[in-house]
Symmetry: C2
Subunit: 326 residues, 2 copies
Amino acid sequence: MQVLVSEVGPRDGLQSLKRIMPTEAKLRWIAALAEAGLAEIEVGSFVHPKRLPQMADAEAVVAGARQIPGLYVLALAPNMKGVQRAVAAGAHKITMPLSASHLHSVANIGMTCEVAIEEVGRICRFRDGLPAADRPGIEIGISTAFGCSIQGDVSEDWVFEIANRLVRLGADSVGLSDGTGYANPTQVKRMFNRLQRELGGHAGGAHFHNTRGQGLANVVAALEAGVTTFDASQGGLGGCPYSPGATGNIVTEDLVYLLESMGLDTGIDLDKLMQARCILAEALPGETLYGHVPNSGVRKGFYYADPNAARSTDLLISAEACATLA
Amino acid sequence: MQVLVSEVGPRDGLQSLKRIMPTEAKLRWIAALAEAGLAEIEVGSFVHPKRLPQMADAEAVVAGARQIPGLYVLALAPNMKGVQRAVAAGAHKITMPLSASHLHSVANIGMTCEVAIEEVGRICRFRDGLPAADRPGIEIGISTAFGCSIQGDVSEDWVFEIANRLVRLGADSVGLSDGTGYANPTQVKRMFNRLQRELGGHAGGAHFHNTRGQGLANVVAALEAGVTTFDASQGGLGGCPYSPGATGNIVTEDLVYLLESMGLDTGIDLDKLMQARCILAEALPGETLYGHVPNSGVRKGFYYADPNAARSTDLLISAEACATLA
């Protein structure tokens, strides 16, 4: 069975850092990730550059990523203005965050849930009016789907009311997102089962953070529910620097190792993933890169899920060793 | 549903450290763990003190732990000599490691698997000859059950041949142990399902390490297979200091949070668990204590699985803050 690992580090990871990674370094990193077999990468965010200066070069990054053969280029856009920029830049697919928590929605994007849902409808109509060649996919990740750091619990029925409305409004897929590490495996299995049941082919993937160390546990639960697309970020980039081990997104390296060990084919080469990690380490000196497998290496006797995969695991090395490799 | 978290930090954690924790500090820590609701603690190892000087005070620690009302006191013993010492000290239950890997068995305990299995039989007969009041439980953890860092893959059929023989020889329970973070969730679910099927009431718990970051993912898979006992160590003690995040055992704090979030009752108070962590931090200054939840805190709106539990989550604090608390 194949599972899609969707890399979000260049967007979700880099936007959480104080410093700004130069466009050239971003593109070298993205190219290395693609070379490792990451077929889908979220490369940037079309928000106002004053709000997120780390993402001010989104146009250039999307344009550069589009030059990489075979890569499916995603970009985040929170509103019509951002979507228009993403389309002009040539993103294959646009991901839109939409919060199920009223308080979080207002705090995060300045819109109530109702207004944000209507905005998605308006955007889907805009997208449908574009020439076929320029028409991007529209994917919504329902954030705070598993709970909200402002309001606490979020009604599951409300989450699914939103999900169904978004599909009716024209979204291609709707996934569930846990940006604060609130989800637990019981909830994950229940909610993704329901998502598949209610949305069928429009059911999207899982976006988990590892804030409470439960990220990969939630992946196992989501797999049980039939989820086949997982967001992850290389090095767990975007974690809280004052909390040792409190990574941001689940770590791509550890996720790929987990999936391949379970016999699930990701198409990703762990050695080449480590080379991409080295580029990241070099471009962000001093930044903490998370992950266990980059330090421990794979188990003795490890093999990829696809027995014919011409991929190796010789190079697994610690982040510290990157300096010698780079 | 209730799940038993069996704390192994005072044995598996402390034996991995270079320094020796004073007996008095061990007992203060163990008492705090018991106070937090840890009903079963593996407090020491009856190996030769020259081999593991960290465990040279095992007699005193077992005797001290036996004074804690309600606590079920476990001790590890690798052979008859150790078992005799553990019995004399008053351990309620003795855990014996037995490696399914021939190479690991010889390297680790200097016995082939066959000899080690016979030794268990001899020990069970010795145990059966004791007066009822002194008769400890005998629990075997089959180590390298999921793979071995020396020989790589280990035959699953061989693991279950061992497990069945050990039960026939008189072991009360036989669990599966992954001391090197080799297990993956698919394998865990398959093997624990088989363990329950073949051993019935003698099927023991799971002992996972988090070396490759897959520890809690494996817990979710084991829960699916019906496992209800999990070893864990506070602060993931015993990890590799040169690998950031490469914890040893799965972290008790994160495991308890995972289980309670899933609606599984552990009987453990997270606040009091943090107080025990502070004692540990104070007794081992400079030692890295792992875990996400101790830094992130619980989610907003968290509640224990048992709605009547008189336990709180107010105190969750970073290890650094322990100094002020202590």
